[in-house]
């Protein structure tokens, strides 16, 4: 495979861990121990120790039911389908934004629309989807399409693909953006067609990104409980929802946790496969030998036209869905009294104001702490000889692959009694956001470092720069796109997460998504829609601020990225 740019480069070569980094490593391991391993150990104890002795009774009970066994199979089918379709769509969008010559404004607009489903809380987007495509759906009436049953695999698949393909888009846009267009240029000047260049250069070089995106999406879908809660109905059970129902419907904490522990097996398998596959090859493209920057090349006219057509339809569909929510937030009673009003927003900024403030504070804190943690872990595991390196990377991703309901319960159990009591505080929510959702940042950092030749850093060192200078002047600027992607992801999920955090909110700290779920269950749909719109606006503002700060801090890197 024509992947390596030059034969002698090995991106997996690691430097000895210098003693200055030792405290950092100890801190990271310490926090992993406290915030990842300890809660899970407490939960494992609860599930697998019955009356003081180890027992598989809880697990056996859960899987004696054919319905739960079906849920396991369905979960895997769903996760694989969502990961495939989501990665595909994410790649299409990322390719168009980074490689096809479109006006800047359109690219910005595409990027903004794409993240909409991801930044909005799952309940509202699922409701919008049923209003559009469900029985008597608005869109079906509009297009005179006969109704079909959206509840089940189809609806869940569509909703989750819409929700998660932006994750693939963000991951892949960073990776594609980092591929030096000069490579593609060279291929074409040697006579390769655009399509051939795409097939033999661009696509293979995106493989680490694609694999990452697939893993992230597979994991997200595998552990998502909110979308199936609304969309899956009874014909298509999935494990996280079964676990949630076992806990909340049957009052069976042990049984529910046992069900969700089974999810660890497929999640682990995908992780190991991905490691095996991506680690064996070299993906270096940032070698420091770059000349003048060439304009990015597309994939050929026909391919581009096809891509743009798919993208336009999807973009229009997303806009349609979100107009339903926007409209719903502006009318008095959805479907009955359609006169316009701002009272739903008044509700958000009076009754809901505390939730808005708390959520923003929590999201900002989590993003700051989480991105530092993510870059540190990503950097250490890919560049340094760290004891138990693989274990560290694995542990850091553990909370991400477990369903939120389980992690949330584990946190309550672990931090309610015992040496560390955190229930009812803001730190417990922040800790959960940081250690559950920095996975994206870590993966993005690892993926970008895989593209960056360590000889760049070695050159800097041999020219006499200190390690510190090298890290801050060479490595960090190159890592910035990945770090930014990680930050954006962290901020967004801190704002929209619900499955785990619902168990951690308290009288003192409330969250927007929990309020939205409350509104939905209390049949306050207009208020739920208004909350969602406010949430989306805050997230967009925050993403804007993050990009702006990045531009100010690293004008050079950001200029290069924009030029692409």
């Amino acid at each position: 495979m024509p992947l390596t740019v030059s034969g002698q480069i090995n991106p997996n070569r690691r430097a000895k861990l210098d003693p200055a980094l030792l405290p950092l490593l100890i801190l990271l391991w310490g926090s992993m121990g406290v915030f990842v391993l300890y809660p899970l150990a407490r939960l494992l104890y609860m599930v697998f120790v019955v009356d003081g002795a180890g027992s598989l009774a809880n697990l056996a009970k859960a899987f004696s039911s054919w319905y739960n066994r079906k849920a396991l199979v369905d979960s895997l089918i769903l996760a694989a389908s969502v990961a495939t379709s989501g990665t595909f769509l994410g790649f299409l969008f990322a390719f168009c934004v980074t490689r096809v010559s479109l006006p800047r404004a359109i690219k910005w607009f595409l990027g903004a629309v794409v993240v909409l489903p991801f930044v909005s809380p799952p309940f509202t987007s699922s409701i919008a989807l049923t209003l559009a495509l469900g029985p008597n759906g608005l869109l079906l009436k509009l297009l005179h399409v006969p109704g079909f049953n959206i509840y089940g695999f189809l609806g869940t698949w569509i909703a989750e693909t819409l929700t998660y393909f932006p994750v693939a888009f963000l991951t892949l846009a960073a990776v594609l953006g980092a591929i030096d267009p000069n490579l593609e240029d060279a291929a074409m000047s040697m006579g390769g067609s655009r399509w051939r260049t795409f097939r033999t250069i661009t696509l293979p070089l995106s493989i680490p990104g694609l694999a990452n995106a697939y893993l992230l999406l597979f994991g997200s879908s595998l552990t998502d409980f909110a979308t199936p809660l609304v969309m899956a109905g009874h014909t298509f059970p999935v494990l996280p929802t079964q676990a949630y129902l076992q806990i909340t419907g049957m009052y069976d904490l042990q049984g529910g946790s046992a069900i969700s522990f089974v999810l660890l097996v497929p999640a682990l398998l995908v992780y190991l496969l991905q490691r095996y596959w991506v680690e064996r090859r070299s993906w270096v493209t940032v070698t420091g030998r770059g000349g003048a920057h060439a304009a990015a090349r597309g994939a050929g006219f026909t391919a581009e036209a096809l891509m743009l057509a798919v993208i336009s339809v999807l973009t229009l569909f997303i806009i349609f869905l979100y107009s339903i929510i926007l409209w719903g937030s502006l009318v008095k009673v959805w479907g009955v009294d359609n006169s316009l009003t701002l009272k739903n927003y008044a509700y958000v900024f009076t009754v809901g104001l505390k939730a808005v403030k708390d959520t923003v504070l929590i999201a900002i804190t989590s993003t700051l702490i989480g991105s530092v943690v993510a870059v540190s872990i990503g950097y250490l595991v890919s560049r340094k000889e760290v004891p138990w390196r693989k274990t560290l990377e694995f542990v850091s991703l553990l909370d991400y692959v477990l369903p939120g309901t389980v992690v949330g319960i584990a946190y309550v159990i672990a931090f309610n009694t015992g040496p560390i009591v955190l229930t009812g505080t803001m730190s417990i929510i922040v800790a959960l956001c940081v250690f559950r959702y920095d996975a994206a940042g870590i993966r993005a950092t690892v993926a970008s470092l895989r593209q960056i030749d360590p000889s760049l850093e070695e050159a800097s060192l041999s020219l006499g720069a200190s390690r510190k200078t090298t890290f801050f002047r060479v490595t960090l600027p190159l890592l910035m796109p990945a770090a930014i992607a990680g930050m954006r992801y962290l901020f967004v999920v801190s704002m929209t997460a619900i499955s785990a955090t619902i168990f951690l909110v308290s009288v003192k700290w409330s969250l927007l998504t929990v309020r939205i779920l409350e509104c939905v269950t209390e049949l306050l749909f207009a208020e739920a829609a208004a909350f969602s719109v406010v949430l989306v606006i805050i997230v967009f503002a925050a993403i804007g601020v993050i990009s702006l700060l990045f531009r100010m801090a690293y004008p050079e890197t950001s200029r290069q990225l924009r030029r692409r």
Binding site: P23, G335, S376, T425, I502, V507, E522
Partner: protein, 338 residues
Amino acid sequence: MMKPFNSKSRLVILALLSLVLFAGSVSAGQPTLNVYTIWSERYANEIFSAFEKDAGIKVNWMRFSSGELQARLEAEKGNPQVDVVFGNMAEAFVNGIPKGLFAPYKPKGSESIPAKFRDSEGYWTGVALDPICFMFNAKFLKEHGLNPPVSWQDLLNPAYRNKLQMADARTSGTAMYRLLSLIQAMGEDKAFAYQRALNANVQVYTKSGAGGALPIARGQAAGGIFFLVDALEVQQKGYDVAISYPKEGLVAGIEAMALVNGAKQPEIAKKFLDWASTARMQRIYEAGRINLIPSNPEVKVTNPGLDMSKVKVLPLDLKWAGENRDRLVERWINEVLR
């Protein structure tokens, strides 16, 4: 060249330290009553602000769905974060007693609440009743020349094929009481045969009890089986829905309250439980548009929507329901879904 901590590690240390500091900064707070409830924000506000006014004790409360409340209570066992659970379904309390989640306390004045609405040992006291009902989209009924259903058998009408929404048997509350209503009305075997037949008319079994309410209100589905409190809420919002009851009978859910085992402020908690057992508390329902039926017969309701005098309400054996719940749900999955 090398300092003990480079600026990178310093940053991380700072970040992690601030985490710990946040943890420490939360103080114990003033002596206030802490409560978990499943009642909606508006309902809960009416009750707790009345208590604050009457007793001068501030109430910190949080709202969850019935099962989330229970899961949280169980996880917090050993260091409970609240003193009182208010308004959860009686079967949740029955389930929580052997788990040691609640402490017995017979509130003063609870004698005026009929014995069937409270635990004989004082573990829980029922404050309100919430019957099962049919809720149908009025426009759909009119367009199809149908009357609101008045019998369980009416729901089998082929006109409703793929048009009904109701809760999944595993969601707490609504679905459980639907099952119990059917068993009480027609016996267990007939109840399951009936549900098998009904299955053809069901568009989806929703995962939350009120999940089908909006689809029905908006005409995406024709109707379904709900708790009265949810159906009335939809009606009050302005949606045109018809509420009716099966003539064979139904059961009503009991919403109750209890003292949490190991409550940090048992005295204040008992004060609240005493207060909430009075007729005065249940009179707030009517004034505050709380669509629940008082458990205290001294409290009269004038809202015709809550008048159960013409509705056949069947007795409910909570102990039997608790003991048979897992079996019934299993049977529902095996016989109705399969």
